[in-house]
């Protein structure tokens, strides 16, 4: 941004303004008509920038062209709002076609120290004793943006003399960030997945600095990084940055290949450097020192130097990674981004069966060649395909990652014939055109001759025997649905679920009930068969009653003997069942012996004894008892049995 204001050949003439104008016009006419060999004096004023912040610098160049004779230094009085320092004077003389052009440049560094629109100049210069006026230049000074805090402010007022060195305090001990810093920057803010972004570390210094390397390597998670080899000679450029002059050099460059989409912040690490600082006050020698190597100075370098260790944290960089577009993505696409071409070849066009052929696929181009997937041969009929090997060769010249990847696949033909190795599809995304590109390899013809060995062995099987062949797994070539059913007549139909049908549950319930009943029956029977004693006990009362009943019938018929026999039997069987003994062993003594030890009322025992006695008496006595007696016996037995039922044995 160089603003040039030109003041052409304007001699200073305060008295005769009109005369001056006339002079100008006539000179111009003379110039045009005569084309005289000498050119007129012209003075240009140029500033490096027209807008700057407080504390920043601009360079003012006063260029005097075609001045004849001696030129005095321009009289630069103090400039309002600036501190000014001379940068020296340079002279260029060129002779073209016998025409001599000379340029004298006076350079000044101006440091702004007040805001507002400022006018630099006008100044005056004496050339060959004539006084020329130098046109003023307008610049604007804005408040300090504070971009680099801690910047040493230039000398306070700017009212001081032009040539005097500033009372500028050089950093001591600590080297401020303003004098040396590193910018890490990416050449692109937005890239596609797998499209490289070049990360560059540029060191800006106003001091004599040496780059030492990285204290902490950058964190590049999510990226495939290809570091560019360092240049043999570090290229140094002079750059203005925030109005200050720096020596800039790129210390490290790396290509970042993002592996996934998203917004990434790359931690750029920590850089180490040493800084040489001259402990001096002389401004001129500061500028004429080794830092810029600019115009020489008359001052000797008497200075002491001090070396500081300096670690620099560059700002983190942010990179937006876009996902590759879905639209138009070919089926063969496997993530390659860049610019590629593909070649293929086979080492033999003709081969005997069983002998290997090498199919070689080369992918050449720019991009992350390491991660490029070479398309592989799918199953080939009558061929055995061995795993392929690939090698990548990468060059990183001129900030471009490029190279080639060679994949070799060994094929062994199993059968003679003429085959074509099919074309392979390869596709990549070209970020320049933002589109997918599809490539195909050339199909390769291959002739397979029958092997000599198999021909020799043929006679073995002349009689029609078989030779076992090597078994192979049947492998699916692709996945698709199976064909429709052609016979639908026998196909079963949809039916309602049984469990939703109440009849089903009724049936099941009935079956469960039935089984429960059967089981209960079975159990009951089983118990009856095994538990004899319990059975007798349970049946005793019923059986006795039965006998008593028949006895009652006999009583009615008045059958005396039978009645007593039945009654006795009833008694015997009843007690036998109760006590689980045989009926024959039951008699009055036995019962009183067994029952006596138990907790039974003596009254019952007496009654038992009495009844047994009476029964024995009734049966065996010759005197027949009367009907009343029989009835009495019957009732007593009945009562006894009823009473005895209530007795708890044991």
């Amino acid at each position: 941004m160089i603003r040039i204001s030109k003041l052409k050949h304007e001699a200073r003439s305060t008295k005769h303004e009109y005369f001056y104008k006339f002079y100008l016009a006539s000179c111009f006419l003379l110039l045009v008509s005569c084309k005289i060999a000498f050119a007129e004096v012209s003075i240009e004023t140029s500033v490096s920038r027209s807008r700057l912040a407080v504390g920043e610098e601009l360079t003012l160049d006063i260029i005097i062209t075609n001045a004849q004779g001696g030129i005095s230094r321009p009289t630069i009085t103090s400039i309002d709002g600036f501190s000014s320092y001379s940068q020296g004077r340079s002279q260029e003389i060129s002779i073209i076609n016998g025409r001599t052009t000379s340029r004298n440049i006076f350079s000044y560094v101006l440091i702004a120290n007040a805001t507002g629109k400022k006018t630099i100049g006008p100044f005056e210069v004496d050339i060959s004793g004539r006084n020329y006026k130098i046109a003023p230049v307008q610049v604007e000074v804005v408040p300090d943006t504070g971009y680099y805090p801690g910047s040493p402010s230039p000398s306070s007022s700017g009212q001081g003399p032009v040539y005097s060195p500033p009372s500028r305090a050089l950093p001591s001990g600590d080297v401020s960030n303003q004098d040396i810093f590193v910018k890490a920057w990416l050449d692109k803010d937005e890239v596609y997945v797998n499209e490289p972004a070049v990360l560059t570390y540029t060191i800006y210094t106003r001091l004599s600095a040496t780059y030492k390397g990285f204290d902490k390597e950058p964190v590049t998670t999510g990226f495939w990084v290809e570091d560019f080899p360092p240049e043999k000679t570090m290229k140094k450029t002079e750059q203005f940055f925030n109005g200050r002059r720096y020596v800039a050099a790129d210390v490290r460059k790396a290509a970042l290949f993002p592996t996934q989409a998203g917004v990434f912040t790359v931690d750029t690490g920590v850089i180490s450097s040493t800084v040489e600082v001259r402990q001096q006050d002389d401004f001129d020698s500061f500028f004429s020192g080794n830092v810029f190597g600019r115009r020489g100075s008359a001052y000797p370098s008497f200075i002491t130097t001090q070396i500081f260790q300096k670690t620099i944290n560059p700002d983190k960089v942010i990179l937006t990674v876009k996902a590759l577009p879905e639209q138009g993505r070919p089926a063969s696409f496997s993530g390659a981004v860049g610019d590629y071409r593909i070649e293929n070849s086979i080492d033999k066009k003709e081969v005997e069966e069983g002998n290997p052929v090498t199919h070689r696929v080369r992918i050449i181009g720019q991009g992350n060649i390491n991660t490029v997937q070479t398309p592989s041969l799918s199953k080939l009929e009558n061929f055995k395909i061995y795993d392929s090997s690939s090698s990548a060769n990468i060059s990183k010249e001129r900030l471009v990652v490029e190279g080639e990847k060679v994949t070799e696949t060994v094929l062994v033909p199993k059968k003679a014939g003429t085959y074509t190795i099919p074309a392979l599809d390869f596709s990549y995304f070209d970020p320049k055109t933002q589109s997918y590109k599809e490539l195909k390899t050339a199909p390769q013809a291959l002739t397979v001759r029958p092997g000599a060995v198999s021909a020799e062995e043929e006679p073995v099987n002349a009689l029609g025997g078989v030779r076992p062949v090597e078994k192979e797994d049947v492998t699916l070539l692709s996945q698709d649905i199976r064909y429709i059913k052609t016979d639908g007549a026998a196909s079963p139909r949809a039916s309602a679920p049984l469990y939703r049908n109440s009849l089903y549950w009724v049936l099941n319930f009935v079956l469960v009930l039935l089984s429960a009943w059967f089981a209960a029956m079975g159990i009951r029977r089983e118990r009856g068969m095994t538990d004899l004693k319990g059975g007798r006990l349970r049946r005793s009362h019923g059986a006795a009653r039965k006998r008593l009943k028949s006895a009652a019938a006999l009583l009615k018929k008045d059958k005396h003997d039978e009645f007593f026999a039945e009654i006795e039997k009833a008694m015997n069987v009843y007690f036998a069942d109760k006590l689980n003994v045989s009926a024959q062993s039951v008699n009055a003594d036995f019962l009183s012996e067994i029952l006596g030890g138990r907790n039974i009322e003596p009254e019952i025992l007496n009654e038992i004894r009495k009844l047994f006695d009476e029964l024995a008496h009734g049966r065996f006595s010759s005197v027949q008892k009367g009907k009343d007696d029989m009835k009495d016996v019957y009732q007593r037995v009945d009562r006894l049995i009823t009473r005895f039922e209530k007795v708890k044995l044991k």
């Binding site: 049984l498 089903y504 079956l511 059967f518």
Partner: protein, 273 residues
């Protein structure tokens, strides 16, 4: 189709049999009778020509036309596994993955051991974007699902009743032929074990089938925490995703996925199996 339709009637579109007759037939108490009816049905009502016509259309690549005929056959009550299967294939070829899945699942529910259906479902599911697998699935549950998978609930129900009948037969013989008791002890124990197993299988299968399932038809649908557009989005499902219906309102169904995530889905974007 409304979900309530399916809950109470059969799974096919428009069952036309009378409920009493159906329950009778399904009980298989008159197995011979129903077989006879089936044969008669085959002879007179089986849409064999239409089926063949649809198959021919499929063969020539007219999948839409084929699907139309198969659908018509199903509406007419030809809800056989073969028709569902062929319909599913037509849908699949026509690119309607969700509808294909529904038809395959219907066919599979009729003939769960058909290898073609299983294969095609696997192929279809490999092309569906949602991963719907039980999370940290317990091995036993997985094993049970594998085990009951190849059987229909009706088969298991029938087996359960059969074993119950066998059990009763043993009890009966035991009662009236006590001589056979020595043999029956072991046999009864085995039968009882079988009975318990069948009952357990029935329970697990019932657990699996008692909730009707839906398949998402839309390419992408948001599942929400409640039955309203105002509710928070829970997750997104894609075409062909399956879930069990746990609850429903007039326009929404509450689905539970295999990974136990659940949410509400608009009815218009899904269909019942």
């Amino acid at each position: 189709m409304k979900i309530s339709d399916v809950r109470h009637s059969e799974s096919a579109k428009g069952g036309r049999r009378i409920s009493k007759a159906r329950s009778f037939a399904s009980l298989r108490m008159t197995l011979i009778f129903s077989t006879l009816i089936f044969m008669v049905h085959c002879t007179f009502a089986w849409g064999g020509t239409q089926f063949t016509e649809a198959n021919a259309k499929y063969q020539t690549g007219d999948f839409k036309g084929a699907a139309g005929i198969y659908e018509k056959l199903i509406q007419e009550g030809e809800n056989s596994a073969a028709v569902y299967y062929n319909l599913a294939n037509s849908y699949f070829r026509d690119g309607q993955k969700a509808r294909a899945l529904i038809a395959y699942e219907r066919a599979l529910s009729i003939v769960p051991r058909d290898p073609d259906i299983r294969w095609n479902i696997a192929v279809l599911k490999s092309a569906l974007p949602d991963r719907l697998e039980p999370k940290n699935g317990n091995v036993f549950a997985l094993w049970i699902r594998e085990f009951v998978g190849p059987f229909t609930i009706n088969e298991i129900s029938s087996v359960l009743t059969g074993i119950l009948a066998l059990w009763i037969l043993w009890a009966f013989l035991n009662l009236f032929f006590p001589v056979l008791k020595i043999w029956f002890g072991g046999i009864q124990a085995v039968t009882f074990a079988l009975l318990i197993t069948a009952a357990a299988l029935f329970f697990f299968k019932w657990q699996e089938v008692r909730h009707p399932r839906v398949v998402v038809l839309d390419k992408e649908v948001s599942v929400r925490y409640g039955p309203s557009e105002r509710e928070t989005k829970a997750f997104t499902l894609h075409e062909g995703a399956q879930g069990a219906v746990m609850d429903e309102t007039s326009d929404w169904v509450n689905v539970m996925l295999a990974d136990k995530n659940s949410g509400w889905l608009p009815k218009k974007s899904c269909e019942l199996i």
